[in-house]
């Protein structure tokens, strides 16, 4: 899932302290998302209610709440369109994708992000998530025993761990970061496929990642166009 966390409240208050012609918004829609950010407890209806309550405390503004099924899909916005039209600003608790779609769908309204979008990751247990995929567009997990070197190595190395791997930990932050290449090594050893690591992995084609351009996927089979 996409993992996000709430911005510091001061930053959120800062967004709402200015507006068109210098007038702060009087009526604010706090807009949650029922997708990933609900699951990672950052932007679902509960977090919307809590943040809305905080924003009401000063009494300077009216705060409305709504949580869409998914903020990254235009078809779900019908439910909130009328309410949104009555507001001066929208505070989105979606990931950066949802914030951008909301901004596109409400072109005359300021849309502010209440979250920092962090990564695509695994839920490791209560309150813990770890990054697992960078969306490189050229998945090599089949080669590396199901552990991604691009994501799980701090340097995204392709040919094994650097000299900073010690006791299975990454020198960048040994307490918090495991060495991705140690994990790859352990997996391939268990699978009797250490021979894979003897091969020189050629330079990656980063053009499939964002380095190429903002990516777009068009599937004719779904779109129904010829």
């Amino acid at each position: 899932m996409i993992v996000a966390e709430q911005k510091p409240i001061e930053e959120i208050q800062g967004f709402l302290s200015v507006g068109p012609q210098g007038r702060p918004p009087r009526r604010v829609l706090v807009l949650g998302c029922g997708g990933c950010v609900t699951v990672c407890l950052a932007g679902g209806s509960r977090e919307v209610a809590t943040l809305a309550a905080v924003l009401r405390l000063t009494g300077e503004r009216e705060v409305l709440e709504h949580t869409l099924e998914r903020q990254c899909d235009a078809e779900f916005y019908a439910a909130v369109r009328e309410t949104a039209e009555t507001c001066d600003a929208i505070l989105s608790l979606a990931c950066g994708v949802g914030v951008q779609l909301a901004a596109r769908l409400f072109p005359d309204k300021p849309v502010y992000p209440a979250l920092n979008t962090l990564f695509m990751g695994i839920n490791e247990g209560a309150g813990e998530w770890s990054e697992a995929c960078l969306g490189c567009g050229d998945c090599k997990l089949g080669l590396f025993g199901g552990v991604c070197p691009v994501t799980q190595c701090s340097k995204s190395l392709s040919n094994g761990p650097c000299g900073g791997s010690a006791n299975g930990r990454c020198e960048v932050d040994p307490e918090k970061v495991a060495c991705g290449w140690q994990k790859i090594y352990d997996r391939l050893k268990a699978l009797h496929r250490l021979d894979v690591l003897e091969r020189i992995e050629p330079p990656r084609d980063w053009s499939k990642m964002h380095d190429g351009r903002p990516r777009k996927l068009v599937r004719r089979d779904v779109a129904g166009e010829s």
Binding site: G163, E198, I200
Partner: protein, 329 residues
């Protein structure tokens, strides 16, 4: 070996090819534009070592560029091994800098992954790592031996113009003390297969582990395909020894050394004695072709250490292919 068959003709290559026990040192560029810092360090090391590594924004701290410093030391009669990390440049910049270094007279390039930027003075920087060190070695070898860039395009300025490759000796680093230990020789083998001509290791304190690493390297015949230079950093003081033991990832300092440093009346002298013992022990290991002496901010002790180790004078001290680059000031 005739001049024509040398890959680069560098002094380091000649010393290694002649079977001499090679000695390289390290010279860290200054954190400003002060040429005199480079000149002072170069004056101490001139004629004392076969070549000197010029670090490239070491530990991710911005310094005078390794290529510019390399050219400066060359002008002061010292042969540089220019270090090049994958952290700060993509494949375009790396290849351009290889060409640039070569035309400035640099004949040895050491390909490194590079320390993570979080350790340096710009921790919010974006890192590159477009290539890793193994891929950089392979890219250099292709440029030199096949006359083509990584893209496959020839090193030719016009269709009918000549292919002019950078004739450099390709170096790489390896850390026998990092994990997973069983992978370290596999990684060495990859670097050799990619085209490394010589290897300089991370500094060695744990001789037992180094011996085991060398045994594994020999078992694969790697010592016959690449020149292995054993890295050494003399312990300057007890605090420095403790720092190396506890704060540098992938370095293991045996308790016995720490105890000796703690018990010595003159810790610096004890550190040098330990270093001399290590040199003697390393020379006895089959496949060790030389040492890489990284006397960090202690360059002025290098001549004394080498003198006491019986490694002076160096075998051939005239810089080859002097011409426009080898003039002493």
């Amino acid at each position: 070996m005739t001049a024509a068959t040398f890959k680069s003709g560098s002094r380091l290559e000649r010393v290694l090819a002649a079977g001499h026990f090679a000695v390289t040192a390290e010279l860290g560029p200054p954190k400003n534009a002060d040429v005199s810092v480079v000149e002072k360090k170069a004056a101490v090391l001139r004629d004392q070592v076969d070549a000197v590594n010029i670090t490239d924004n070491q530990t991710a701290i911005v310094r005078l560029s390794s290529i510019a410093t390399g050219r400066l030391v060359l002008e002061h009669g010292l042969e540089p091994v220019v270090q090049m990390t994958c952290r700060d440049r993509n494949r375009l910049a790396l290849q351009a800098d290889v060409l640039g270094a070569y035309v400035l007279g640099i004949r040895n390039i050491l390909c490194l992954t590079g320390d993570h930027q979080c350790f340096g003075n710009h921790p919010t920087a974006r890192h590159v790592f477009d290539l890793d060190s193994v891929q950089l070695i392979a890219a250099l070898k292709r440029m030199r031996d096949e006359g083509v860039f990584l893209s496959g395009e020839e090193l030719r300025n016009t269709k009918k113009g000549p292919v002019v490759p950078p004739r450099v000796l390709i170096g790489a680093a390896e850390n026998p003390f990092a994990d997973p230990f069983e992978f370290r020789v596999m990684r060495l083998a990859k670097k050799v297969a990619a085209g490394a001509d010589f290897i300089q290791t991370q500094c060695i304190y744990d001789l037992d582990r180094f011996r085991e690493w060398m045994r594994q390297a020999r078992a694969r015949g790697l010592h016959e395909r690449v020149k292995l230079l054993a890295g050494l950093t003399p312990l300057k003081s007890l605090p420095m020894a403790r720092y190396m033991a506890t704060s540098v990832a992938g370095i293991k300092v045996p308790e016995s050394y720490l105890a000796r440093m703690a018990g010595a009346a003159d810790a610096a002298e004890e550190g040098i004695r330990i270093c001399l013992e290590q040199i003697e022990q390393l020379r006895a290991i089959e496949g060790v072709a030389g040492i890489h002496l990284m006397a960090i901010e202690w360059e002025h002790k290098v001549p004394e250490i080498l003198q006491r180790a019986g490694l002076l004078p160096r075998p051939c001290c005239a810089v080859p292919a002097a011409g426009e680059t080898g003039q002493k000031p």
